[in-house]
């Protein structure tokens, strides 16, 4: 059974860790919704907050292809990093998988995808966690073509 890379932001919905939902917090006073947990509203400081499940799909606000990764990055290099705007308001940064460079386009629709990632911890032990990513919403043919 996989655990979430960040249980406060990604709630897994099956034991295999292949399905899940991003968690946000909405202010009941000003209606602003943020990604992740909150005790006070970032916009108006109210403490009348409610957890919300964020949409599975969003729009690609911007993207980059990271050629020199940060330390601790466990994935392939280069990787695509997407800044995705969700209908509820928050923008969520994560790797974009299952597409080619030529497919990337600002405004394209993407959806949440979970991947098991092997993480090395400080003491040399390895754990596998479910990490949230984005993948383009496109036809099955196009996805198969894009897969390595």
């Amino acid at each position: 059974m996989l655990s979430s890379v960040d249980p406060t932001r990604l709630k897994l919905t099956n034991d295999e860790g292949t399905r899940g939902v991003l968690v946000g917090t909405r202010c009941q006073d000003c209606q602003v919704c943020v990604f992740g947990p909150a005790v006070f509203c970032q916009a108006c400081t109210s403490s009348s907050l409610e957890p919300v499940e964020l949409s599975q799909r969003g729009s690609l606000y911007s993207y980059t292809i990271v050629r020199v990764p940060p330390s601790g990055w466990p994935g392939p290099v280069p990787y695509f990093l997407g800044q995705v705007e969700l209908p509820e308001g928050p923008q969520v940064l994560a790797e974009i998988i299952g597409c080619r460079e030529a497919d990337l386009k600002i405004g394209m629709e993407v959806e949440l995808a979970l991947q098991p990632v092997i993480l090395a911890s400080g003491n040399g032990a390895e754990t596998t966690k479910a990490v949230y990513k984005w993948k383009p919403v496109m036809s099955t043919d196009a996805i198969q073509e894009a897969s390595p």
Binding site: Q42, Y61, T64, I65, G72, Y79, Q83, L93, E95
Partner: protein, 384 residues
């Protein structure tokens, strides 16, 4: 805005700068001290007269490095405060020094900063944070995201972005303190290796080592310390802000591109000056896109038009609003704790008319803007 804003007038009395680059044989205190003694000598102030000091730095080099460095000048027992405020640590130290005097607590203050930034991509979060595994914590990737969106929104060309670096290197070729003193062509900037598309290596500031210092004095106390009024520069505004809610959630790399605007407006209000009064500006150009969005946030050029202003040469030394006259972060390099005070050093040098081959003719009003993670921003305005 509840900031106290009617304090005593404060002037910069002296400045000092260590060259920026790599200095493997010096520790942080060893880097920090030479500009301090230079700034004291520049002001003509004795160390024993300094009643308070603020030291900006970010990376850990043991505790109380400010005390270690200044202790070599003599243990005078004054309060020494070590300041960490990301890339704005130096300018935050300066801001604290300013307010220490403006509020009437001190007549003099020392602000200094130093840094030895490790090589490689700069990250914000702790080593084991989930953001590292998610791939979202990468300072230059954050700039790349902003750059691609800016190009899409405003039709900015890759060539216009690259021109920011070409201009920075031209200015730095006239500055012996710069980390990167060699000029580069547009082609060299565009063809340097990609870090995070569309940002190429020469559009990212080098990670560097360096140090800078400034001595501040209440304007009404300049005569008491026999400071030469001909060489002092008045501080017309000193503003520090953290982020407002920006609608972008909490990922560190998705920082707000125009977060400087509220600080700029506050600085203009405090100084009674407007963007039209600014003769030259030092801004936070950690990447080329940074400079464009900063000068737009400062209202020096209209939103979405900084790339055209750059292409037209308006931000060059010979333009109507010269920006990053010493080479900026792109060519000076970026030792976090020092950069904010380095910008003030350049502004003071220009307003004194002592910038030599890169002197902006007739400069009377200068602005220094520095950003940091946490949506920190500082804006200082200086007048001669």
């Amino acid at each position: 805005m509840t900031q106290f804003r009617s304090g005593r007038e404060v002037s910069v009395a002296g400045v000092g700068l260590h060259p920026f680059g790599r200095f493997r044989d010096k520790d942080l205190a060893g880097l920090a001290l030479p500009p301090v003694t230079e700034a004291l000598n520049d002001a003509g102030v004795a160390w024993k007269d300094i009643p308070v000091a603020y030291f900006g730095h970010v990376y850990y080099h043991g505790m109380s490095v400010g005390e270690t460095a200044l202790g070599k000048l003599g243990l005078t027992g004054i309060p020494i405060i070590n300041v960490e405020n990301a890339c704005s640590s130096g300018s935050t130290a300066f801001w604290q020094a300013y307010w220490g005097i403006a509020t009437g607590i001190f007549d003099l203050a020392l602000a200094f900063g130093a840094e030895k930034v490790p090589s490689g991509p700069v990250t914000v979060t702790a080593e084991d944070s989930p953001e590292r595994y998610i791939g979202a914590d990468h300072m230059m990737a954050g700039y790349a995201l902003r750059m691609r969106r800016y190009m899409e929104d405003h039709g900015a060309t890759a060539t216009a972005l690259a021109q920011v670096s070409v201009k920075a290197r031209q200015n730095a070729s006239l500055n012996p303190y710069a980390h990167r003193k060699e000029t580069v062509s547009l082609e060299e900037v565009l063809n340097s290796r990609l870090i995070a598309d569309p940002l190429t290596l020469y559009q990212c500031c080098p990670t560097s080592e360096g140090a800078a210092a400034a001595v501040l004095c209440a304007s009404d106390a300049l005569d008491r310390y026999a400071i030469d009024r001909q060489r002092t520069v008045k501080i017309a505004a000193a503003v520090l802000r953290s982020g407002n809610y920006n609608g972008r959630g909490s990922d560190h790399s998705a920082f707000s591109p125009y977060r400087t605007e509220p600080a700029a407006l506050e600085a203009y209000e405090m100084s009674g000056l407007g963007p039209e009064d600014i003769d030259l500006a030092q801004v936070h150009d950690a990447a080329t896109i940074g400079e464009l969005q900063q000068i737009e946030s400062l209202h020096l050029v209209p939103f979405g038009q900084a790339w055209e202003a750059t292409q037209e040469g308006r931000t060059a030394l010979t333009g109507d609003i010269p920006v990053n006259t010493d080479g900026g972060l792109l060519a000076m390099g970026h030792p976090f704790g020092a950069s904010g005070i380095r910008m003030i050093h350049e502004t003071v040098t220009q307003l004194r008319g002592e910038a030599g081959p890169r002197q902006v003719a007739g400069a009377k009003v200068g602005l220094a803007q520095c950003s940091g993670a946490g949506d920190v921003t500082t804006v200082h305005i200086f007048t001669k």
